[in-house]
């Protein structure tokens, strides 16, 4: 299991938004498939932590990933277009954005909560402790 905890993120007052999403930007999916469990303001969460509102559990995401590369050398490298006229489809392993709606979980935090950290527990079948989840940025998006 890999545990990752974010830096502190500001939370706007609940009266200013209707919906809140966590967006994992640039998730890489070229390795083994994996599952993520997300907690808010619970950096101590681990695999036996109950996934409940009391533990500030926010939900899960699962990524059906490519697995080992079975091509020749370079097969799974993401190429740049070779010319402005390159109309080949995008490489299937381009990182993507994964969104988890956390409106209810965010609203359930104690009144006056103005910032959060996000803790992610990431599991794959290999039991890896790092590099299970690789992504570029985490964004808290709220919608009025």
């Amino acid at each position: 299991m890999q545990r990752w905890t974010s830096q502190v993120m500001a939370v706007p007052p609940p009266t200013t938004w209707q919906r809140a999403d966590l967006e994992f930007e640039g998730v890489e999916h070229d390795g083994a498939s994996f599952v993520l469990h997300v907690f808010l303001n619970n950096a101590e969460a681990d695999e036996i932590t109950p996934r409940t509102a009391e533990q500030r559990y926010a939900g899960y995401l699962t990524v059906f990933a490519h697995g080992d590369c079975w091509g020749d050398v370079g097969h799974c490298d993401i190429p740049e277009p070779v010319s402005p006229f390159d109309q080949r489809p995008p490489h299937p392993l381009i990182p993507f954005n994964a969104t988890l709606e956390i409106s209810d979980s965010l609203r359930a935090l104690p009144e006056g909560t103005s910032e959060i950290t996000v803790t992610v527990l990431a599991f794959n079948k290999n039991g890896d402790e790092d590099s299970v989840l690789r992504f570029k940025n985490l964004t808290l998006l709220t919608y009025a």
Binding site: H29, F34, T62, G67, P92, E101, F123, K125, G127
Partner: protein, 267 residues
């Protein structure tokens, strides 16, 4: 929601093929479907099951995931495979596995034996079309439910319900591909790897359910199409199909069986 199999007003006057829940197939329908898969597996050319399986991962890798083409590409994929199966056994359709209400792999896909022989829906050979195998390639499909710790197991009622509440295509697409990913990962084995998943016949029952979800959502959200800028995009299938050609299942000649409720009349 009930979807009745009525052709669109401007559709050709042909009977639609009806895809059914795997649990609702008659014994004969299941036998026919199994025979179609078995016969297609015996073909080592572009009519064969292994050729179609290879579209998704090894060796061709044409599938689309985690993007707006996910639903159209897989709808086209199922359409072409279903035609190939109907060439083997006329009238067969792809059944769906409703993992939104059932929590286990359906017995039609789980029983080791069927009709006194090995059940081809439970375990299938992997013979990559027109490609010499490499060391380490699996030679048959496998499943390992729960092999990834902490993976939620079906049924995925809430996830399905959340997807159905989406009000635009992009949101629906993302919610349904997420639960789709979860099912793949939960089944595990070769189903948990993009490269090998489609060699397992259960892949197509899973995706028929994903496609059914889209169909149900479409019926509730008329005109809620993929973004206009991708409608003319060609999907990488053989032959290719534009995204806009995938939007109307009646134009593709099929529908999903709905529910039926009958009450006595007055006589």
């Amino acid at each position: 929601m009930t979807i009745t199999a009525q052709p669109a007003p401007n559709a050709a006057p042909a009977r639609l093929n009806i895809r059914k829940n795997i649990e609702a197939l008659s014994a004969q329908e299941l036998t026919d479907f199994r025979r179609a898969i078995q016969q297609a597996m015996a073909l080592n050319d572009k009519r064969g099951f292994e050729y179609f399986a290879g579209w998704h991962g090894v060796p061709l890798g044409w599938c689309q995931h985690h993007d707006p083409l996910f639903l159209p590409w897989h709808r086209a994929y199922l359409y072409w495979l279903e035609l190939a199966l109907q060439s083997e056994v006329p009238g067969v359709t792809l059944p769906w596995w409703d993992w939104s209400t059932t929590g286990a792999i359906p017995s039609a896909y789980a029983s080791a034996q069927a009709g006194g022989t090995e059940n081809v829906l439970a375990k299938a050979p992997i013979k990559v079309f027109n490609t010499a195998p490499k060391p380490g390639w699996p030679t048959e499909t496998s499943r390992a439910p729960g092999e990834i710790p902490q993976t939620p197991a079906p049924p995925y009622r809430q996830e399905w319900a959340n997807a159905m509440k989406a009000t635009n295509y992009m949101e629906f697409s993302q919610l349904i591909w997420t639960v789709h990913d979860t099912l793949h990962v939960w089944v595990g084995g070769t189903m948990g790897q993009v490269d090998w998943a489609a060699y397992d016949p259960i892949f197509f029952a899973h995706h028929a359910n994903v496609d059914r979800a889209w169909r149900i959502w479409q019926a509730a959200h008329p005109g809620a199409n993929p973004p206009a800028n991708i409608l003319g995009q060609s999907l990488q299938t053989d032959p290719a199909m534009q995204v806009r050609a995938t939007l109307d299942v009646h134009q593709l000649g099929y529908e999903y069986a709905g529910t039926q409720s009958t009450v006595p009349g007055s006589a």
